[in-house]
């Protein structure tokens, strides 16, 4: 099964997005990591690393909101053990829409590649027809 780690500058955005994904993809493991080490806006590499290491899923997709969340996630990826690193993928997709699409796809039993593709498509999916 594929699981999601959601890294946002805001604790509320991370946990709110996790709730939204769980609502539609109940079985899927989703861990929100929001805010910096001091509890204010920012990102916290230590907690991102812990969240990834604690995931029980075979493969882990990491979603990031703004610039430094990406830098933090990339730095954490470099710090992970090799075996785990191969199972962790940073996803280049919109945070809410991408995590939602990946979560729903994962709940249908899709693999990491299919979930990442669904997340990437969320970027170009028109909202107004």
């Amino acid at each position: 099964m594929v699981g999601l780690v959601l890294v946002s500058h805001s604790p509320e955005i991370a946990s709110g997005t996790a709730e939204l994904v769980r609502q539609m993809a109940g079985e899927v493991e989703v861990r929100p990591v929001g805010g910096d080490a001091e509890g204010s806006f920012g990102t916290d590499p230590d907690r991102i690393k812990n969240a990834i290491e604690e995931m029980g899923s075979d493969e882990v997709l990491v979603f990031m909101d703004l610039g430094s969340a990406v830098l933090s996630a990339e730095t954490v990826l470099e710090m992970l053990g090799e075996e785990l690193r191969e199972r962790v993928h940073l996803v280049d997709a919109p945070f809410v829409e991408g995590a939602f699409a990946a979560g729903v796809t994962a709940s249908a039993g899709a693999d990491a590649r299919e979930c990442m593709e669904a997340a990437r498509q969320a970027r170009t999916e028109p909202k107004l027809h």
Partner: protein
């Protein structure tokens, strides 16, 4: 840089510089960023000092690695992963070297620059710390070719970094929060390039240069 103790002295000087210039960095960052660079760098280097106090005998590489972990954990923002990666790469470059010489110091700085460029995907002219560090590394390399003194190499790097930081003033930012500001970022000195200069200057001073 004759031993781990010299590197610890350098880190102490860097921490003192971040304390002394905390407000200046924060002021620069409030003009084009989110106004926390001074506070964040100060917090990160205080954490680095705490980590070093708890360490026993170590090598220059170990010291730089401890600083890296503290900065990654405590600085926050983009600067944490960027400086953390820089110190981590410098640590790897000095691995197994008990008494780094001038050319080792240059290699460590080159590794730090490569790490920052890879992590931040920035080049010279993007209004980032790369604008200070890349000319600093070039100057260090040149100085090391004629001098074996680590202090002089760091002084050459620091002076080039000062110029590099000044050169960011007219630039439009292409990375980070300031990149959303377009032309409005021009006319302000980049806080990351400024802290890079201050760190190298502190390092040179710690070695009496």
């Amino acid at each position: 840089m004759s031993s781990a103790d010299s590197v610890i002295e350098i880190v102490r000087a860097m921490a003192a510089a971040m304390e002394e210039h905390r407000q200046e960095l924060t002021r620069l960052d409030s003009e084009i960023g989110d106004g926390d660079h001074g506070t964040n760098m100060h917090r990160g280097f205080q954490a680095a000092l705490e980590r070093l106090e708890g360490m026993d005998t170590s090598t220059p590489s170990d010291v730089l690695k401890a600083v890296s972990m503290a900065l990654i954990s405590k600085v926050g923002g983009a600067a944490g992963p960027l400086y953390g990666t820089a110190f981590l790469r410098a640590s790897s470059a000095l691995s197994g070297k008990e008494e780094p010489d001038a050319s080792d110091a240059v290699e460590a700085m080159e590794a730090a620059l490569a790490g920052i460029k890879q992590r931040g995907k920035a080049e010279v002219g993007d209004k980032t710390m790369v604008d200070a560090l890349e000319p600093a590394v070039a100057a260090a390399r040149k100085e090391a070719a004629s001098s074996g003194d680590v202090g002089r190499v760091l002084r050459a790097a620091a002076d080039a970094a000062a110029e590099g930081a000044e050169s960011t003033i007219p630039l439009v930012a292409r990375r980070g929060r300031a990149s959303y500001l377009g032309e409005r970022a021009a006319g302000h000195k980049d806080p990351g390039a400024t802290s890079t200069h201050l760190l190298l200057d502190a390092a040179a001073r710690a070695l009496g240069a």
